[in-house]
């Protein structure tokens, strides 16, 4: 059917796929460059799969404003929504019932001059700055496939609308549009579906370390007055994770008794029964967190994967006709737990390179390589290079990682040019290896599962409700799964880990007379991408659902 429909074509100079911090910064920077040089205005389009910009944005988040200061120097006058300046930093090592406070706050964790933000609100504001420049943001349109001319990227095709769940067109069928561009900037976020395709086709990761990911799960709470001072930033290590697991918790306090509570779990865990959502519940039950949130109300929930691998895992970010920016490329500092400023700066540098290429009438990889040169000369490298091995060091356990991180900090990262790592998701072990052969009892449910009390802890299904996620129900399932693997191999070997790593109850094993069947509750999906990363057989492919579907992260 798709071959016979007539599609509209739109021609632009620069197409930006993804309206997050990286994509929008690229758009804004392009228009600034245009103004400075004058001449024929560039045509720029931004595609965003959310119904409105910012709705799929979720992060901690503490913002380092260095890139914002350069992009929008008068951001305070323009009322950028910065919830609170950071006043206090606390780091704790948690034990099951207690906490040890770090006597000093290590430099990477110092947040003086940074701001606690809702990334959803911040990106919405950024999109207003972009639209004020006359740039079109097509929200509600997802990039579905990359368009090529030979091996040159020439644009993106948006997803069809109005396809029913059997793949047949409905009355409201509208074919996707082909958007052709001289330069396409891929800003499709962590494990972006289009960037993933580019990486495979052009082996952009060759000679680099494999990417490692984590999943962040967060709730927005309204807590009783007086529990925590606005501007307080708390980070934790230790409990509920064990020393073979990477991750930690955070509590960020904003004005009006609103508090972000979240937990990041490395997707390089080895226990097949581990569930990141359970770790988050355990974290909330710890006296440190419970004392802040108990008696309050959870008002929002969300989850998102994040690229943790660092400098050595960033793929080649340029190719014929295209650039890759932000989380899609892995510009994140897992040591500082920050990536928004790097995403923004990578977008700005990509804009520089794209602008020059369009004006020169040459968008070849040879010319777009300038983007990489710019990154190498920028604060991005200055910040990421010294800590390039930290995440890989944590692959050897918490103690090794912690020691290495300390040494890297003190020595500015001279040690080891490159520490090799494995793709984090490959570390998960089978039930037999992790449990049976070691004489361990396989737990009934997830490891350390918590019975939700519906006050402080919740089940996934309840949480999903508070993500505001919504999809048109009558559309094909957007999680392409080779289900024949489920019962025959994955069940016996890993005991259906999709039920646990998905934070949104998308994957459900239904026991029927004929055996177990995987039920995919696709409309629960919060677009975190964890399944695409984490399933042991790499048989889950996340593709964008019909444009506009997904979470509504208001205030997250």
């Amino acid at each position: 059917m798709t071959s016979t429909v007539e599609r509209e074509t739109l021609d632009v100079d620069v197409l930006i796929v993804g309206g997050g911090p990286a994509g929008l910064s690229a758009a804004l920077k392009l228009s600034q460059l245009q103004k400075r040089t004058g001449g024929e205005p560039l045509s720029i389009a931004v595609l965003e799969k959310a119904r409105e910009t910012g709705a799929h944005m979720m992060s901690g988040a503490v913002l380092d404003v260095s890139a914002l200061k350069e992009l929008v120097p008068d951001f305070l006058d323009r009322q950028a929504p910065l919830a609170s300046e950071v006043h206090e930093d606390h780091i704790y090592f948690l034990t099951p019932g207690g906490k040890l406070r770090f006597p000093i706050t290590p430099a990477p964790f110092r947040n003086h001059g940074n701001y606690i933000i809702s990334l959803n609100r911040f990106v919405k504001w950024l999109s207003e700055q972009v639209e004020a420049e006359g740039i079109d943001i097509f929200s509600g349109f997802a990039g579905r496939e990359v368009l090529y001319d030979g091996d040159r990227v020439i644009g993106v095709r948006t997803g069809d609308r109005g396809i029913d769940k059997h793949g047949q067109p409905r009355d409201n069928f509208e074919p996707g549009v082909d958007i052709h561009a001289k330069v396409t900037i891929f800003a499709d976020g962590v494990r972006g579906n289009l960037t993933k395709e580019l990486q495979r086709r052009f082996q952009l990761g060759a000679g680099r370390e494999p990417q490692s990911f984590a999943i962040g799960i967060k709730e927005l709470w309204e807590v009783p007055a007086g529990r925590i001072r606005p501007g307080t930033v708390i980070h934790t290590m230790g409990y509920p994770l064990n020393t073979e697991e990477f991750g930690g918790g955070f509590v960020y306090a904003m004005p009006d008794n609103r508090v972000f509570v979240g937990f990041v779990s490395g997707l390089d865990y080895v226990d097949p029964m581990f569930d990141p959502h359970v770790a988050f519940q355990r974290f909330k039950l710890h006296p440190l967190v419970r004392g802040i949130i108990e008696g309050g109300q959870m008002i929002r929930y969300g989850a998102k994967a994040l690229p943790e691998g660092g400098w050595n895992t960033i793929p080649r970010p340029y190719l014929d006709g295209a650039l890759i920016v932000g989380d899609a490329a892995g510009f994140m500092n897992s040591m500082r737990l920050k990536g928004i400023h790097l995403a923004m700066r990578s977008g700005m540098l990509a804009a520089d390179a794209a602008f020059e290429a369009v004006n020169a009438g040459d968008a070849s990889a040879a010319r777009l390589k300038r983007y990489e040169t710019l990154i190498n000369a920028s604060p991005i490298r200055k910040e990421l290079y010294p800590v390039r091995n930290v995440h890989q060091a944590f692959g050897h356990g918490f103690v090794a990682g912690f020691l290495y991180a300390g040494i890297a900090m003190v020595t500015n990262g001279w040690w080891f040019d490159r520490m090799t790592g494995h793709a984090g998701q490959d570390r998960i072990q089978t039930i037999a290896r992790y449990y049976t052969r070691r004489g361990r009892q396989v737990p009934e449910g997830a490891t350390q599962a918590v019975k939700p009390d519906r006050q402080v802890t919740f089940d996934k299904l309840t949480n999903v409700h508070y993500s505001g996620t919504r999809h048109d129900e009558d559309q094909p399932v957007h999680l392409l799964v080779h289900t024949e693997v489920c019962e025959s191999i994955c069940g016996p070997e890993y005991n259906y880990p999709c039920q646990r790593f998905c934070p949104a109850n998308v994957y459900e094993i239904v026991t029927e007379a004929v055996g177990n069947r995987l039920q995919i509750n696709a409309s629960n999906c919060v677009h975190c991408k964890t399944c695409d990363i984490m399933d042991p057989y790499q048989v889950i492919t996340w593709v964008p659902p019909e444009g506009g579907g997904g979470p509504q992260y208001d205030g997250m």
């Binding site: 519906r454 299904l461 409700h465 505001g468 919504r470 009558d474 509750n521 208001d554």
Partner: protein, 321 residues
């Protein structure tokens, strides 16, 4: 004076109009309440509305108001509202209201508060309760600026049978309006229905809903019998419709229908919040579930913690007596 804009389609009154009239009566505190009914020919509907204890029922009739268009309604209603000069204009928060009322309020330059569930006095004015974050928080909104203030009320915010009826029918008057066809920019097409909707659960007075506890498709027959015994429509929670045991149009909850019947019987439904938001406005909720800690019991008026396969036949037998 408080003016309620009632809604009709092809001469049939939308029953949510009664709910809004009930709210207007509770808000009035001595002020007169009037009800306006716009449309092409609304005589019989106006007579029906006149049963309520209100000062007046106002027919706003014009051939250009049939079929409905947002331009036509905005032109006619802004003229009538300007003439009647009410303090508040109340509307049921229907699809049609959602379509034209923002335009109408903007045209008249007046405040609009949408999708409210209640009101309360607040420093000499009225504050309207507006759920946010899917009902987790409730904002109290006090409209400012010149009257009239437009307020729309969520379906189920009041009970239709709470309307105070008058001893004698209220006066029915007609306010002449002029609506130039040329000023209407929309060209309505025939109403579009994506699928044949065999049932409209939102209009059902009694609903029996089944969930996962029913275990198999064959057992649905039992649920059907319970529904028949109550004279109720059969509905379901999501897993049942996902499994294809019942059509999607019978699904209650955030991805299905929202209902507020007089009686809601939940058979083997645990009460995930996605289901609760679709039925918690029901007047009387009866829950039968074997897990006594299931969240459905938090909203149920009557709960039986037990095996539905024992209780349902007993219910049927008892109702048959």
């Amino acid at each position: 004076m408080i003016l309620v804009i009632a809604e009709q389609k092809n001469g049939t009154l939308n029953r949510a109009s009664w709910e809004t009239i009930a709210i207007a009566q509770q808000m009035a505190g001595g002020q007169p309440v009037k009800v306006a009914i716009p449309g092409g020919a609304v005589g019989p509907v106006a007579q029906e509305l006149a049963a309520a204890k209100v000062a007046e029922v106002v027919r706003i009739e014009h051939e250009a108001l049939e079929p409905y268009t947002p331009d036509g309604f905005t032109l006619a209603l802004s003229a009538v509202i300007g003439q009647l000069a009410p303090q508040y204009v109340l509307l049921p928060h229907t699809y049609q209201t959602r379509d034209f009322v923002p335009k109408l309020a903007a045209r008249m330059g007046r405040a609009l508060v949408t999708d409210c569930t209640a009101f309360r006095p607040e420093g000499g004015a009225l504050a309207f309760a507006r759920p946010m974050f899917q009902g987790k928080l409730v904002a109290q909104v006090v409209p400012e600026g010149d009257a009239p203030h437009f307020v729309t009320f969520q379906i189920g915010a009041a009970r239709a049978d709470a309307v105070v009826k008058g001893d004698a029918p209220a006066a029915v008057t007609t306010v002449p309006v002029t609506v130039a066809r040329a000023a209407i920019r929309q060209q309505p097409e025939a109403p579009f229905q994506e699928a044949k909707q065999a049932v409209d659960l939102s209009q059902a007075e009694r609903i029996v809903a089944v969930g996962r506890g029913i275990k198999s498709q064959e057992n649905l027959e039992l649920a059907r019998k319970v529904a028949a015994a109550f004279g109720a429509e059969l509905a379901a929670s999501r897993p049942i419709c996902d499994a294809g045991w019942l059509p999607m149009e019978r699904q209650i909850g955030s991805s299905g229908q929202t209902v507020a019947p007089k009686l809601y019987v939940a058979l083997g439904i645990s009460g995930a919040i996605q289901h609760l938001v679709g039925m918690k406005g029901s007047r009387t909720i009866v829950a039968i579930n074997k897990d006594a800690e299931a969240p459905i019991f938090e909203v149920a008026d009557y709960g039986i913690a037990g095996d539905l396969f024992e209780i349902a036949p007993a219910l049927i037998a008892e109702l048959g007596k």
